[in-house]
Symmetry: T
Subunit: 159 residues, 12 copies
């Protein structure tokens, strides 16, 4: 109803732009969640144990930030869309390969995918600030640190 | 390699049938995971707090059983497929509705979907046993109890 | 209402038989709960401390399994009956003796009673499976292990 | 034996009166324990989740105070009687209804029953003090606060 | 003394403006703390349990952020003023109603009050940044997310 | 409604007198809560660390007892009044000083204020018992021990 | 100093009588603490394990109540005296026997000693109330329950 | 004695067959426990850390299941035999190699040994069910899942 | 290798400036860590206990932020330099005094040193933002709050 | 009996000398336990909070080492003597002063007493080793570190 | 390789003697581990509960010290040998009896066996010190205290 | 002052020699702490995850033993010197290399450095005992076991 609609703290003119960045990130994190689980499961090779364990921790990170950002969408009055079909259609990443994966393959594929999202999130740190929502930008900053850390930890395996 | 391939405890002739039941369930649980999160987020109405909280717990249950069953696929020598596109294509459930959902709607939609999967899992308790893998059947029994419990807890809201 | 009634995962023709085994066990476990507490309280003799402590743990086991099985009744669409009068009328065990009890008496009486229920539960493991509900049978199997363990631990005091 | 009988700290002439109040309360709390569990299980309606959860907590409260007070009976040299038949015969409450219960019904029935016991316990706070056992009165005071709190929390649902 | 006064890391010319935003927020959070407790206590109606519980959590949030921000005032060399008379005089919110409150009333009144403060805090995220203290602005951003979340969770009860 | 109004365990004629003592104490404890926080924040001098830490613990004690006693008011059917304006108008303590406070000043002011309330609570231990509510008196006794302990711990700093 | 001396919440004329009961109990509990430890150490016989363990728990109970009651002495403005020589001179119990002790001896000696103190504490519940300090009486009531429970648990070994 | 001997819940004619499967498994698990510890200790090579850690976890799994199954033997009235000489004589596995072991060697040897036991346990899931003890079969199912998981996790290192 | 080098989310042209601020802070925090430990150990005087304890907590804060910021350097593709010789050469603080330190001296020296670093960190909050890395600026903001708090807590000892 | 007497691992000729050192230490630690509690209670002055808290921790240390060493006496076949009269007669320390104690006095008296025992324990580290029981000497070494640490922490208050 | 072989901190000439003591103890502790478990399982008689529980704790102690000492062998460059056949051949204790064991028998047999190992360990405290490895001797001292304690606790059951 | 100086339990003539060993070890451990952190950060290669994690644990071990030994210096009356310049000047190890480090390099460099300190600590176990302080020697023995374990765990990666 109208009364309840008036109870949204963020200024109305800012909502669409901020929501666009949030919605995109929620979907990408949910895709990364499944990518990390898929790697956690189908992984093979001498690096099995440490990668199996850290991929689970990465997956948990994606899942928790997706919740944090999706609930930010609700706070600004807009429903989130984290449906599986929406993930497939809008995550904008190459289809993840099926079947077994060697540890080298997992490192290569996952580093590339996390790196791609890390770049996008970084640009959203700026766009949300420019669009006048430092609160959302602040959450993207926290996420950005985590993604950059994951990229580092996987990248150095190959350096 | 061949040597490693020989190290799979389940008899080879049983693997395909058992895997079929596992693969179907993994995908359905991952779909339910997103359905529950989608409801957790977009929910509105006087039952918000208890439903928001219990939907999160249901989502955690789906996620943990998906891991348990996907790793059973690996144990029997077959890669799992939990990719987002696979979920969309094979979960065999109507597309989840977008946008806000009233508490009544959530109860109705989710009860129907969990009930559908609960029925399928129940039949897999039997098929895996008939196909000679009591170990997998046992895990489906644990899952079946949980799904039947969720259906009960949501169903009685409307009785 | 009818719609909600259709949401019961167990096939309708199986429900009465499975419920009969569940209802009987719930009532027996609630009776054993009070028997164990009664012994925990009125106990005397040199074995006081270890029996007092273990009877409490046994009582907790009965209470938790009663909850698990009663909620299985609800899952299959039938109300449970754990009322005190129902326990008295249907637990089908001799009336528990009043007043102080020596440690020897407690060991003797309780071993006999737990043994009696353990036998009944064992037969329900089979009947529920035969009646087509492996999920319920599985929970009876877990309970059966616990009851058999208690019988062993009390029995060896007298051997 | 006589020697041991002499080791009861409460003066002998006070014991029967104090025990009468304790025995009555133990039996009533055990009845309430089953009433709360029965409601926890057979409950239906939109208030299912919060009532299901709080009824379990109430049941735990009854169970723990029953133990505390029954052990006070033993301290003053008298066996407690918490047998199921004793509960049925002496709890002095109307028979609890069988079958499903709507949330409204549960609130109504349980508030009435807890209120009834709360009144009795309150009068025992006074009678035990008058009969010269402030230690027992003190435990009744703690219980009284808890029962009065439960009555409040259920009553306001209907106000 | 002068020496100690020189040990304040924030540049002197910025202190008054930053302190004004901090002082106003501390007082408003302490008022909200009492509003939430008052609602937690005097609440009536079918939503009693979930609202009673969440209002306590909201109250804890206000209390902890008040401490965090008041200690920021001290860090920048200025005493905080969280006295009860100061709250009454400067929180700049309508007087909270006395007596019992229905769940509907609590949702309505509290959403309005939290929304009002959420708007003010949002503007302080900007003013503190513009006045050159990103550290304080960062804390306001964290608080802003929490207040916006509370407004959402209460607002949707009425949508 | 009338039916619900009948569900108040404390005899009606006792309620006003008991409530008067409870209401006065709730308000005083909420005032002390803010006094302790104000001291926790604006404190200076060599005793900073231990006083800062213990004032926080004292504040937590006041807050928890205020909740316990306010909920006792509700139990006896009367709304509590913990609004900020009510605290200011009825706590009946001198206005707390603003600005920085030396450790000596804090010890002096707080000992005086806690001592004043400790005396009042002590007299309410008696009045509530005399007015026939030992349950409330019992809670005042627990609070009285805590306040007397705090007065001791602060007083000895100056002896 | 005089100012600080005026900050003692208990009325001056009551202090000596209350302190006498507290001081006697502190000393007796410290004696029981050593008696229980002496038994915990020098015990022999088939009941070694449960008695060794429970004597340690009893000793912990004595130690914690001694602290609680000694600090009550300080609250009412009087130093406590828990010095070893004071224990020996004023605990008013027979000298504890040296050397090894059979389990039977420990049960006999300790039951007698705890029973003796339990009787004294019981009378102090009354005397402190009669002397006008319900707060202290309340703590003695809690202690009384614990001592009566210990006497029961040891006494029944011999019944 | 005879009376106690009658208190064994499992039907007498089933006991020998079930015990044979339990006894064999207990001995094999105790052998695997030492194999895993031997590998945990003498391991060398680049995979040291993750294998050292996981071998300890595997060893803990063997130890806990050995306890669970040995106690099942006692429940059915037959003593277990977990003596070191019995392990050596009846575990029916090649003698474990002495001296240092490379990570490759450990993976190879342990996978082979766990695989061997996993196959045997799998066949006992069936034989115990066929011999009429679903309770024991159920415990073998749980163990079977764990052993199959270990074989998978080691096998994929070499794939 | 080049491929891996391309996987650094922060734009290349920003890296040197951001790294300069991070490297300087890491080194300063490691120096402060040793300063705080040196004070924790060699401290004397009546404020020993609270300062000893809080200096350890401050040292833990420095250590944890040094890890967080050093790992940010790695994320942006540059090795950190936390070697002891680098600390000595580049922390840019006066040499810490050797030997015993009175509590007054510790307060004076440490406040001065923390204040110096707090000022530098504050300026880096701005420079990193100006140089285009809000993610790093955000971490400096968190650190800045902590350092400003420490300066306050030590400073007020002397006011 | 003789058989059991033969089961004492320490060589018989060593027992008396080792026991003498153990017995003396047990008694001294029990005396220090009461000294620390006496100080914890009767303490006054500006250092009240940190001393009150640390004296409790010291008392806990004495109590735990007394248990460890008394049980060593039992291990070497000799009963311990920790009776209150034995403490008074053999702890060989000046009588502890009664009444209130300023913080200065506590520091002075306790440092002197702990220092005295620390010296004795240090000499027993050597005598037990010389008398051939490195196991006991090892426990004295652990105790010696703790006592030396306490002396340091109290001594520096006065330096 | 040679380089790595040079990285063994213990002087080469000491290694064989120290290893001999370590290897013997590891094997004996592993034998005791199985003896304690065998007793834990096959035990009968009135002391069942406390012995069953304490034998499990003793078994855990043997297992943990075996790990600590086996890893000391590795530290000094020599592989450990904890294989089951090695235990049987070198533990140098009589074969443990099969079948049920009364509580008396368990006490008798286990006391004798632990006593035997306790004596050997005691002599190794000295031999390792004489052979120049105080670090290993120190670990034997810790073990010696534990074994002597166990002998005491079992021995006194029969005294 | 002189009085306090007399309160040092270790005999004066022993202090300088013992302190020399302690001071050297404190400085070396602080250097190793930074070496381990530097490796934890700049590490690259396939062994990244397990080495990154274990290097952090090693660093924590160095830090905690440095605290334990530095506080031993204070106990014997001498200030410790853990200043960064002192570490650089007296740790007596080659300068640690800057920049990225492959996993092989880290294993090689760190094994060499820990081995070097392990040898020195081992000699101090003896020198402190010879110089008459078994208490300090005992702490060096504990440290020696930890360092020897670390050398083993790194060394075997290359064997
Ligand atoms: Fe969420
Ligand atoms: Fe997993
Ligand atoms: Fe339940
Ligand atoms: Fe109990
Ligand atoms: Fe604070
Ligand atoms: Fe509350
Ligand atoms: Fe205390
Ligand atoms: Fe067991
Ligand atoms: Fe790190
Ligand atoms: Fe002990
Ligand atoms: Fe290990
Ligand atoms: Fe320290
Ligand atoms: Mg099963
Ligand atoms: Mg009273
Ligand atoms: Mg009370
Ligand atoms: Mg920010
Ligand atoms: Mg009372
Ligand atoms: Mg089955
Ligand atoms: Mg199962
Ligand atoms: Mg910003
Ligand atoms: Mg932030
Ligand atoms: Mg030694
Ligand atoms: Mg040691
Ligand atoms: Mg030693």
């Amino acid at each position: 109803n109208e009364r309840a609609d008036a109870w949204i703290p963020l200024e109305q003119e800012k909502r669409q732009a901020i929501n666009a960045d949030l919605q995109a990130t929620v979907v990408e994190l949910l895709e990364l969640f499944h990518d990390a689980k898929q790697s956690h499961w189908n992984l093979r090779g001498p690096l099995y144990f440490p990668l199996h364990e850290n991929l689970q921790e990465y997956a948990d990170t994606y899942r928790k930030f997706a919740d944090l950002l999706a609930e930010r969408q609700l706070q600004i009055g807009i429903p989130t869309d984290g449906r599986t079909s929406t993930i497939v259609e809008t995550a904008n990443l190459p289809k993840f390969p099926g079947g077994f994966l060697s540890d080298r393959q997992v490192l290569d594929i996952m580093t590339e995918r996390i790196f791609t999202i890390a770049k996008r999130v970084r640009s959203r740190v700026e766009s949300t600030a420019k669009n006048g929502d430092e609160v959302t930008s602040n959450k993207f900053q926290d996420l950005s640190y985590e993604l950059d850390k994951q990229v580092w930890q996987f990248r150095v395996h190959m350096q």
